[in-house]
Assembly symmetry: D3
Homo-oligomer: 237 residues x 6
């Protein structure tokens, strides 16, 4: 029995609220249950320095948690002087996931930065961030397209993400903090709207896992991501 009474294959209630930031070219407040992430897309009219003159754009991401997004207060990373390894790992994952469905040449020499700021954390912040950031990126692309900044719509597909894990011996979808903190295996899957894989990250936390367990987790993730993509479709109308 999961602490939240959910069945193994149940997502938490998911909402995607658009246009939540006055100045951003695209924005989305995503909630996976008690996990709330504010995602904004910011357009810059030049690519990062190392990409200049190549006729392509770039999509990148930054991720942070408000200090009291967590049960006990977490030290602000601007005070400790640098983003932690965990933060960097997550923002690299978000960036790769969104680039996988973006036609970068179609962006022209521009950069879109997705800022994913966790207002409240209850497990699965990185998967919520990817799912919400896609909406913000979509709206930014629409904004650009509507103003004829770009000719071709640069997003090829939906992308969404979900976590799975083995909790008390059972494979479950979309772990909340209570489950996540004791799960034996923890996996994050990123998939496209068409069902292709973008990222698989599975990690033994307390016990190693078998190929069969990986298959079960993947099957759960497919179901969850299909639902998330539907929610994205409803959100962007």
């Amino acid at each position: 029995m999961r602490p939240s009474k959910r069945a193994a294959q149940d997502l938490r209630p998911v909402t995607l609220e658009r246009n939540v930031a006055r100045y951003a070219e695209g924005s989305c407040l995503v909630k996976f249950g008690g996990t709330h992430v504010l995602c904004t897309a910011s357009l810059e009219d030049k690519p990062p320095p190392w990409l200049r003159g190549q006729g392509r754009g770039w999509v990148t991401a930054e991720y942070a948690m408000l200090p009291r997004a967590t049960h006990t207060r977490t030290r602000r990373e601007s005070m400790s002087g640098k983003p932690s390894g965990r933060t960097q790992e997550i923002q690299r994952l978000i960036g790769r996931s969104l680039r996988a469905v973006t036609n970068l040449p179609a962006l022209g020499e521009r950069q879109i930065t997705l800022d994913c700021d966790v207002l409240q954390a209850d497990g699965g912040t990185r998967t919520a961030a990817i799912t919400g950031a896609w909406v913000a990126l979509h709206d930014c692309c629409k904004w650009m397209h509507g103003r004829s900044i770009i000719k071709e719509f640069p997003l090829r597909e939906h992308v969404a993400a979900v976590s799975c894990g083995i909790y008390q011996g059972e494979a479950v979808l979309d772990l909340d903090y209570e489950e996540d903190s004791v799960a034996q295996t923890d996996a994050n899957f990123v998939m496209t709207g068409g069902g292709a894989l973008v990222e698989v990250q599975a990690s033994a936390e307390g016990a190693v896992f078998s190929e069969d367990e990986l298959s079960v987790l993947l099957a759960l993730a497919k179901g969850g991501i299909a639902q998330l993509v539907n929610i994205q479709k409803l959100a962007i109308g």
Copy 2:
């Protein structure tokens, strides 16, 4: 004529929403028009190292802006490695303002950190932060008092803050970004519920100012802060 059509002595619409952060001992989402600041109060069971063994507590503040709280994206301070001078100035101001109305010995050897994170910025973020942080601090004190962690309620008074400035030759209250960016004089006032002064910071931006102008600004601020204190009283019910 002010861009927002407000009269010189008008505040923007102000709201104070409590209990917006699941884990914090006190929290408040404060809005001064388009300026939105999420304030959380976090209790720690020990004072800062330099205060150990003195039988007193401490109240401190940290302030930050989300990267896209602003018209154009601002670089994240965790990436640049240290909080800017402006950030440090503001968080020192918030901390001093709240300590001025707190009975620190009554807190015992504990620390309360007020995190003020600007979700959207339209001028006056530091004054909104002080006004909202007071509510978060109040609720944190109530939480402690309700659990008998402290015997005496440690907040002596309300404290609130507002900006004033000289915009196109006229003294006006609670400047928004459009006014603030061109104001000749910019002043921030922090006052208690009883009308006493806690902080006065007035600065010539483009033109020096006279004693009479300072008096007019102070009179505007008194009116504004009285209203803010009333809104705080309604909020805490």
Copy 3:
């Protein structure tokens, strides 16, 4: 009774010694009693990057204390890796104060940096620094004007600064360390030679203060700054 036996409205002995640094375009060793600050003005032939191409110059300031300027040794900020919040607050104040009396377009695309290094600290270092930095800036402008680097003399007015505070219930001028460390209210005023206000920073340290008290402090400051401006006039001959 003040520890130094001064009357409430008395400045400490103030001296302004010019041409104390061989290489600087302007320099001044300012002493407010036991507070000694070495101020140098350094001309650079280009403005800061963000001001390029706008036909204006810039005046900025840096402030530091020698490690043993204080009663006990203070850690060197180059060792801790960054200037403290207090340091940044002070150097921003010095910069704003001097810019308020400088005709920046008349400087052309140049920058003048005022370095204010406290050799010995006995309270009021920031106000001494502003008062002395004005002399260094004046001499730097004269140096430029004498070499026909600029056509118009860019300093419009004198600027000087002084602290006031409420010490043992009484408003007093130009606090030394012994007074400052126990003052209930601490205020710094920056004014022009013509008596206009440039900055007002008043802060409740232990007790809040009233409008009347603010008025008394302001009156004291006016008297003190008038004397300081006279001393500046004598110094620049």
Copy 4:
């Protein structure tokens, strides 16, 4: 056809040379073809601060590349002030992989640090590092056991790692730099001697991938890791 003429399921020549560092409690120079990593295990007689008093030990890893391990010189991370996101991601992976096969309570309150320094890089540095670090860790455990520092041998199993990817449409094992730099999908697998999974990290670089492709990559990895474990067994005699 692979640039190295290897068949799809071929590893590069792999060697594991023990006792290469005079002072370390365990060490191994691992070569996967042109990729050379020097791994040392260093024993410390206390655990990291956050683990004190819990009766368990810890295994952690640090990873770095010599500046000229790469085709063009890479800036030294001690000069840029902090390890990059990629470095942190890799050292977290190495640490997790080794902890998955270590009986941490059997270590007692001690820490073993695996330093993995890449002398020459030709693709697959992280998988070579894990494979070699296991040998260094093994020898460190043997050293401790031989001196009766610990009673129970704390390593439960072998652990080794290999990369797979889709190169020019074909799934191949153990990519070298020439393959890696153009692979469409890049995956790293960490498995135990018993064939259980420890980590799966698969990432779409240029094209998304299917479940079937993931299965093929996993099958290749199983074969490669079985060989690597045999080479480890030979090495430790």
Copy 5:
């Protein structure tokens, strides 16, 4: 002919002014011609952490230049985040030089920090700093001895330093900036009052040098240091 018209074996005018810093336990403003260094000695009642419990004290030094001590303004090291290699090299040299003549066990578990801040630089700042720091250290020891903090006077000998170099083919003593900036060989010698060597640092700047040249430089240094020790003796009277 030297730019300053000095003979090859001439020092610049040297002065050692004591008691120039109100709070320091010892202080000295040393001038070697246009090179002015303010040296303070600060006593701390505990040794550095790595020396605790060994019954010995420590003497250390820090060195910095005011930004406009130099012909053109030098960036403040607190702004760049860390002391430069040159700064660290110099402060390590000063520390070693003074420790060579100090009876560290006689200090007890205490630390004396010599801060050497260059107010004006005209070549030879490190040798002036050593010569002046010795006086500050002497006065700090006397202060401690006078208060019976220590029983035995811990300074065994004088120590002083001077630079030599080959300027336009001729060996000269105590180079000023004009000479130093074009010298082919640059050497710094630290010697005791008894004529023993403490440090020799000779470096080819533009041309290598012979053993004979080293001997000539050493002979010059001996003469110069003997004079400096006499000036120290007069200063401490």
Copy 6:
């Protein structure tokens, strides 16, 4: 009697292995007994920024130790955020030593960086590094010359280095760690193939030293460096 049974004037066994790094333009693994340093020369097609447009090249060096090159593990400098003073001192010394024998205009507007990474440390790492870096630099110059990147061979002479010290009252050559850690005087000499001096750094560690002792150390160094230059000649064939 030396711990290694060597006579006073004996070097440890020295080897210089070339072409040890696949990608570097020049490389050398130098061993002075148990001290092993990997030296690589990396060519960059532009000089450092401050040398642009002057028609000359530059030679610079970086130095680091692997964490477990030492008896007990040393913290990685990329983790502490900056190279230590010792590291900076050594890399400045290596750079100066190599520049002293390089015809910088003959390099053209290019930079060669010598990375000296200590794989194992047993005393004398800086002198081994200089001796090995010369070989790497030589091979880099040969590589450039062979490809007609430069017309004139830019290395004028050999350069090599050795340490000497006074160990148990006797002057000895090429100290190992056991000797170095207790030596009273520690000196490093850098000389050219022609016997000219490039750097002399002699330092009293526990006892001051006399001119005669300096002469004895210098004589030992001359003998040692002559041997090292012969070994370099054999190595480069």
